[in-house]
Amino acid sequence: MAEPLTRARIIGAAETPYERHPSTERRTETFIAEAVVAALHDAGISRDEVDGFGVASFSLAPDHAIDLTWKLGMTIRWVMEDTNGGASGINMLQHAIRAIEAGDAETIVLAAGDRMERREFHLMTDRYNRVSRDYMAPLPLNGPNALFAFLTERYGRAHGLAREDFACVPIAQRTWATRNPGAVYRAPMTLDDYMASLPIAPPLTRYDCVPIVSGGDAIVVTTEERAAKLGRPSVGVRAIRSIFNDENQDGNGIETGFARIRDPLWEAAGVGPEDMDAAFIYDDYPVMVLVQLGDLGMIPAMDVKRYVHKTLLEDLYPVNTSGGQLSAGQAGAAGGLHGLVESVQQLRGEAGERQVQGAELVLTTGYGMVLYTHGSSHNAAILERVA
């Protein structure tokens, strides 16, 4: 196997408990700060060794990254703030790797988090962007569920899938979630449970929509030299590819920018879809898990029906082993780091009951930022265990 193509390593990862109804004093900055402290502890390094900080949040305003830097008592020489929602985690990682390779910073903490109650969720979606405020919210749209109902309907028609087929995604992820004490939904889900769940925007029902939670996630990235001194496995990044606004919202939302980054991603990584021991796919809705897996070449012969029943549900091929956002919860922008945190835990062999034995190479994706009819921001990383 070739050496990782980047010289930065992820040496720490942490997620705060995801909370359904946090007390009022637990603010967005509280969750982000707790994730930062936990990730540093996990990495075994002190705050004062950090010289770079990146953060993504929907609800940190009026504060910014520099306010948190000050409140956390850090002096840094590299800072960034990312506003790309579900694509923010991998986007920050892409920037952080190059900063470390260039010597602009040596040890960077990337964090994301939101206090996200129903009220804050509606504030976020109401003012997501100007188009959302002026063209979507007045319908009234009440958030993105209806848009992804359209994409689900469209994808089902294109690939001959009924609700029973889409059900395999949340049911398989729930099976993984039963092994994750941090997931908000842990009770096993049956097909009957799924079929009987509350309609939200048909064909979407409650179990197609992420539970809204509050929480934070963080990872620590540093040089390979420094990682080697820690005496424990770290995570290398073989490749990252991103694409933003590749079709001006003129596409159908189910054949996406992931198809355009597929070949460059695998080529840069020097491995292929068949080499992946697990996948961590941004799961705002079940349909988007299938769209991304398909566009990135993970579904053989694009036989989606067979893939969901056989590969995901029967064989329990590891996709979103935390339960994903569909079972673990979506803590606003922390959702963009959730898959990276789970990837790191799996690759270091620290995923507890849900550990994928011998996990060496994984695919992790980010997706987000609906501009009008569907998401605009796509990125994917190939990560590997470095002993």
Binding site: D126, V131, M136, P138, L139, P140, P202, Y372
Partner: protein, 140 residues
């Protein structure tokens, strides 16, 4: 209260944008004209569950306690439009697009609604040249 529905069209290459853009993604022109679009076909629809409590958000928009019937519509102009649809409209139906001012809000948010098409022809579309300095060039 409703008005003809319009999208924007690039004066230089004919690219149709909805919602409006600043530079044309095809030819980078900033000259747009208004183009009326009467009809479209419903490709997908849903009935969005109401929220528990009706309330107004800081933007002026309302969270609605009513179910809302929403659709993705492939307009005759070529762009996909998200619209509120009348009862009885189903997937595959040809619909007439209208633009409604939203009465509940102070900001210039507008609502696209669609009812079953009655076969009426497009109204004549005036040409509006919107230089970059005059942007945002929202359709009225």
């Amino acid at each position: 209260m409703s008005a003809p529905f319009a999208v924007t069209e690039c004066v230089d290459c004919g690219y149709v944008a909805y919602p409006p853009r600043i530079l044309c993604p095809v030819c980078a022109s900033s000259r747009w004209k208004r183009r009326l679009t009467e009809n479209g076909i419903v490709t997908e629809l849903t009935v969005r569950r109401p929220v528990a409590k009706r309330r107004q958000l800081p933007s002026g928009n309302w969270l609605d306690q009513e179910e809302t019937r929403l659709a993705a519509i492939q307009s005759d102009a070529g762009v996909r439009v998200i619209a509120r649809i009348a009862p009885g409209v189903e997937i595959g139906d040809r619909v007439r697009l209208r633009q409604e001012a939203s009465t509940a809000i102070a900001l210039p948010g507008q609502v696209v609604s669609a009812d079953l098409a009655d076969g009426s022809a497009d109204e004549a579309a005036p040409t509006i040249h919107a230089p970059l300095s005059d942007y945002p060039g929202r359709t009225p």
